[in-house]
């Protein structure tokens, strides 16, 4: 029996330790002023006092640098505005996202936002939470199947694809590859955001297809996994050894494809998406920069900060700036890349 107690104690201690080291930041113990909607709120949004609010956030996955940057933005907003942030992840799984929503409702969050990576899967849970009186928000990607989402902050992914497409065309034009070049795309046609990027990219390159006699190759679905992307690129280079340029819908695909291109000694260049730190590093690298020439940058930090602002504003003043707030993507190349 003693052994038992010891083991059980160990379980408790594990919990104690974890709860201790990860509990949210101590909020200011002084009671917040009554935060009725009527309370005198200064006109500037950045002076809102949100202490006393508890806001829930569900990231797609904390294993992706992109979502980690969003989390940074959320935490910065929490520090500036004083609310308590509860951040969970859904493993990009609609069923898990639904569970997390339920949990945050029970936890007493004043508002919840999530990246709706699986719109059909999480919509019932989003609507249920709304029915229970918890306002719902979305960031990064949203659900078109429900109208209860108060506000969505995200990247204009379609526009990002357009930026990527234009970058590919510009590369072809700058390098006299305007007749019969082969270009390709590595996609991930499961999350809506990646589908939009792909669509945006095709909208540009299809326009130039006849004019420049382009061969446009879809290399396949890399499923968010770098090594899958590497095999896709390998296979493609066997068929098209002189492929001029590719666009990928996510940086992990570039990481994998880079390895394949280097191994094959091909002259293919790549334009990625997300502009994660590894993209910046590669673009500035004298070797890799010859292949990975540019990247479409989102501003995840800003997305995180903005959605938090909108949630606070809704809770305090019952308004949002807009139901859709799109943060525009921009192109990162050797001229503006930076290593932190």
């Amino acid at each position: 029996m003693k052994k038992y107690l010891a083991l059980l104690l160990a379980v408790i201690m594990v919990f104690g330790a974890l709860a201790g080291c990860s509990s949210p930041k101590e909020t200011d113990p002084t009671p917040a002023p009554d935060t009725d909607n009527e309370v005198i709120t200064p006109p500037e949004t950045d002076e809102m006092d949100a202490s006393g609010l508890k806001l829930g956030f569900i990231l797609g996955s904390r294993e992706h640098a992109f979502y980690v940057a969003i989390e940074d933005g959320i935490k910065a907003a929490a520090a500036d505005l004083g609310f308590e942030a509860v951040v969970l992840e859904s493993n990009l799984d609609g069923a898990v996202a639904s569970e997390r929503i339920e949990t945050l409702v029970v936890d007493g969050c004043d508002a919840i936002s999530l990246s709706v990576n699986d719109p059909t899967g999480s919509t019932p849970a989003i609507e249920a939470a709304d029915t229970e009186g918890v306002p719902m928000f979305a960031f990064d990607c949203t659900s078109s199947e429900t109208d209860v989402i108060k506000s969505f902050v995200g990247t204009d992914n379609y526009e990002g694809g357009v930026v990527g497409g234009e970058a590919v065309i510009k590369y072809l034009e700058d390098n006299d590859l305007t007749d019969g070049a082969v270009i390709g795309i590595i996609g991930y046609p499961e999350p809506q955001s990646c589908i939009d990027r792909e669509d945006g990219w095709f909208s540009v390159v299809n326009e130039y297809k006849d004019e420049y006699n382009l061969t446009i190759v879809n290399l396949g679905n890399y499923k968010g996994d770098a090594s899958t992307a590497e095999s896709l690129m390998n296979d493609a280079l066997i068929q098209y050894p002189d492929m001029a340029a590719i666009f990928t819908v996510g940086d992990p695909a570039c990481v994998g494809a880079l390895a394949a291109i280097k191994a094959a000694g091909a002259k293919t260049v790549m334009i990625g998406f997300d502009a994660n730190p590894e993209a910046h590093e590669a673009i500035l690298d004298p070797e890799n920069g010859k292949i990975w020439i540019a990247d479409v940058a989102q501003d995840p930090y800003q997305i995180g900060y903005s959605i938090a602002e909108q949630m606070v504003q809704y809770c305090l003043k019952n308004t949002v700036d807009a139901t859709t707030i799109l943060i525009s993507p921009y192109l990162v190349d050797a001229s503006n890349a930076e290593v932190k």
């Binding site: 379980v11 594990v14 974890l18 609609g94 029970v106 699986d118 499961e190």
Partner: protein, 339 residues
């Protein structure tokens, strides 16, 4: 009279003692619940407890099935994929139904189609293991990838959506709506899972078939020489396993109101962990559906409770692993002692 009372009391005390000794999992469960309710009082809110039952529903169905196969001394790692396939096929079938079908018809079609798909795949596994003597791990590994491939083929690579709202009745409707709880208190999915748990628990613990499952898992030679058709028992257990996984998959797709080809990926690992935590021996021959479900409850409570305690999700993965190990170690220690 007094004496009798005294001994009776001792008897009950001993019984509780003996029960908790045999079922280390109960202690883990109670302890976790106490710990989490101290960590966040919301844990014990009725609505959270109800959420727990819905959150463990899919894993519970997978666990029921794999408990049969593990008691048999086998393993089935295809259940996650089979669940997804059942979800996709059921969604496709139900989308093809004429508009305005009744709820009853819908539920019959959902369960009928789902169970057929699952039992079919289970039968395939059973056939590979019994007739072609393929090692269960390999046979079901093959099924795992085949089923997952079929998921994407049938669904065309994207979710099967556009389903009517009654499609989601099984997975997300709740009874007893009140003002405080406009979505309702009693989830249909919980009732469905409880019904399956009871039936499958009784089938294993009270019937001749169940006895034969244990015997086959304990020592296949002895079972065969004692007049048991072990091949048939093995075949049926894989079929049951597939069917239960498929019910899980149908419930999942109903909950999400679409059929996702990527659903339930690697859920088999949680099902295996749950049943092992519930005392099912990977060597075969012992285990129980009811106790395996307690294992499921531990997994669900850990997930839910850690989120409520705002434990960093990176650490959650570590803790889940540690608790699975602790539960199994406690169980092993108990078994060694009783021997």
């Amino acid at each position: 009279m007094e004496k009798i009372e005294g001994t009776m009391k001792v008897g009950i005390g001993k019984k509780i003692g003996a029960f908790s000794k045999k079922n280390a999992i109960v202690i883990v469960l109670v302890l976790l619940s106490v710990g989490f309710s101290i960590g966040n009082s919301a844990f014990l809110k009725p609505s959270n407890l109800i959420n727990l039952t819905t959150q463990m529903a899919i894993n519970a169905m997978l666990t029921i099935g794999i408990t049969y196969v593990i008691i048999l001394g086998g393993i089935d790692i295809s259940i996650g994929s089979v669940a997804a396939l059942a979800g996709v096929v059921t969604a496709l079938a139900c989308r093809a139904l004429p508009a305005g079908v009744s709820l009853v018809t819908m539920v019959i079609v959902q369960l009928g189609v789902g169970i057929s798909v699952g039992a079919g795949f289970g039968a395939f596994n059973g056939l590979m293991v019994t007739k072609f003597k393929v090692v269960p791990m390999i046979a079901t590994l093959a099924s795992l990838t085949i089923a997952r491939g079929l998921c994407y083929i049938f669904s065309g690579g994207t979710s099967v959506s556009g389903l009517t709202s009654i499609y989601s009745w099984l997975g997300s409707a709740r009874l007893f709506k009140t003002e405080a709880k406009p979505t309702g208190w009693l989830p249909i999915i919980t009732i469905v899972v409880i019904i399956f748990v009871i039936i499958m628990h009784i089938l294993l613990s009270k019937t001749v078939f169940g006895r034969h499952v244990y015997a086959t898992g304990s020592n296949r030679n002895v079972a065969h020489l004692s007049g048991i058709n072990t091949q048939k028992i093995i075949f049926l257990c894989y079929m049951i396993c597939g069917a239960m996984a498929a019910v899980g998959g149908v419930l999942n797709s109903s909950k999400l109101q679409n059929g996702q080809p990527g659903a339930a990926e690697s859920y088999e690992m949680f099902a295996i962990a749950s049943t092992v935590m519930g005392g099912t021996s990977l060597l075969g021959g012992s285990g129980s559906v009811a106790r395996a479900i307690l294992g499921c409850a531990v997994v669900a409570i850990i997930n839910n409770g850690m989120n409520l305690m705002h434990i960093d999700s990176y650490w959650q993965k570590v803790v889940l692993g540690v608790i699975i190990l602790l539960a199994v170690v406690m169980d092993m220690m108990q078994k060694q002692k009783s021997n």
